[in-house]
Amino acid sequence: MFDDFYDRRYDYAGAARAIGDYEFGAVVAGVDFTRFRQKTNSFVGKASLTSQVTREHQAKVGVEFQYAVVQFGTPGTLTYKGDSLYRYVDAPPDYPGVQTYQPISLAAYAQDQVEWNDLTIRAGLRFEYFDARGSLPSDLKNPANAIQGAPTSLTRRTTKKVSYAPRIGVSYPITETSSIFFSYGHFYQLPPIGDIFRNSNYSILERIQAGTSNYGVLGNPDIKPERTVQYEFGYKNAITEFLGLNVNLFLKDIRDLLGVEFVETYNNAEYARLTNIDFGNVMGFTISLVQRQIGILSSTLEYTWQMAQGNSSDPNETATRAQAGEDPRPRQVPLNWDQRHTLNLTVQLSQAEDYALAAIVRFGSGQPYTPEIGSGFGAAIEKNSGRKPNGLLVDLRAEKSFSLFGVGMSFFARVFNLFNASYFNGDVFASTGSPTYSTTPAKDRNRLADPTRFYPPRRYEVGITMNSSF
């Protein structure tokens, strides 16, 4: 709120306060005591080399190195309790200050593209290395080594993450107007450094109590990168001189998806932490028709069907059942972003270097949500077993080029969400599956009063673009 941690206005105003349910619990007095610093200095080095080694072989090699100095944390905690305001700059374990981390990452790759007669082969290998250079408690059930009688929990270094990602792609013309291709590859992706290191000082759990949740989700410097193994097969055909057809089949196997697990400590308290818990797979196909410009008209039509599923098992339930020697009951359910049908249509009327008028139509079938029946214990039915409504959006774009004082310019006008749709796979109420109403309006009154749950309304943009450089 204020730059200076010792600003006297903190003392005068006090902590943010609401008066009962007045104005949906809005803050009516005080100031926000939250103070947070995140600062990252990265030293990045990259080098790459591309060489046409022979007539058939083109080789690429490269290396990337990054050393980061990351600072996360609270540069001073204010707690205003009773009549006194307490200030702590760096008072671990309860009020740790800003923490500094120095992770190192390294990547190297080599690729060879072979063009032999009509056959094209692209093969490569990428090596990735990440060392968070952080630490974690050796026994997560005794996170701050402060539980009397429990096994000792020492601080252990995070492990180095090494991965090798092979990739190969082959394309081959089968007739004069058509070709096929397939590709196979491994891809690794680390979560953002912010997610890894945020709140990753486990010593704050020294006084953890059952039933309380004062600590948020703890970070995890020992997180593994998400791994995707992707298979793709495609077919391209020029149906006529002006019409092309593409068909793609894809399958992705995703491991080590990020998630949150709840860890139960030896004193039966619980805390949440970031971890790799989930796996999923995506399969589907895309069919696209591309119509090259005839006169002033050009268009594309693309349809995708996909099914994205992942495991779903309440970590708490899993732990309890595992302790009892029972099957933890993992099951596959649609992932949150499982949009089965996607249709994109673009129609454009244009004259090169004169004008362009385009309409973009996007249709998306409903993504999953978890329905509820009533509002009591166990009201939710199977996770992601409901479907949100379908959504349709239309955008218009127009551009007219002209010259003014010898400077090339263009006037543009854009309309986003032409039909003022209020919904496109956004927030819905679990009791109805609708974005507009709930069967428990008293419980949901804050969300009902929040207009940001709707899709942004129609928006116009007009402007002038100068195309020349000075």
Binding site: A146, A150, R207
Partner: protein
């Protein structure tokens, strides 16, 4: 002589305080006082009732995610046992004391052992509620695998000393 009078007056005035101090019960040694890391939960499972209980003073509980709770593993005063019918949130005694500051002035303090809405410690990020004293259950989780407070029908939960 004057100094002697001062000492006598001081002794006479302090004597009742010393006598009163002597009548107070000795304070619990620090290592035996209630502490957060001694919190444990167990299951009472008898007389057709099944319920979780906590040694910080609460019988029953409220699930972390009540909408998605699995009633095959969460039991809070479930009657009859196995029915999935939980009859209560957490139950805890309220202990209220009236403190006399002077013969005409007094105030009340109250404490309980509940899972939420407790007074926060003035400086530490903890709830101020009853906390269990150590030594009344087996703290070693390799022996007390359920990490339960001592319960009569399970010797693994009994303290060794």
């Amino acid at each position: 002589m004057n100094r002697l009078r001062v000492w006598i007056a001081l002794a006479v005035s302090v004597a009742p305080l010393i006598a009163a101090w002597g009548q107070l019960p000795p304070p619990v040694p620090k290592e035996k006082r209630g502490r957060t890391d001694a919190e444990r939960s167990g299951f009472h499972d008898a007389n057709n009732i099944r319920t979780i209980f906590w040694n910080y003073g609460m019988v029953g509980d409220y699930p972390r995610d009540p909408i998605n709770v699995d009633l095959s593993v969460f039991h809070s005063v479930e009657v009859p046992k196995g029915s999935g019918l939980n009859y209560s949130d957490g139950i805890t005694p309220f202990v209220l004391a009236k403190i006399h500051i002077t013969p005409t002035d007094s105030f009340y303090i109250m404490e309980t052992g509940y899972r939420e809405r407790q007074q926060q410690h003035p400086r530490l990020p903890i709830d101020m509620r009853y906390e269990p004293r150590p030594g009344y259950f087996e703290a070693d989780p390799t022996i007390n695998r359920g990490r339960s407070p001592a319960i009569s029908n399970d010797p693994r939960t009994w303290p060794r000393t």
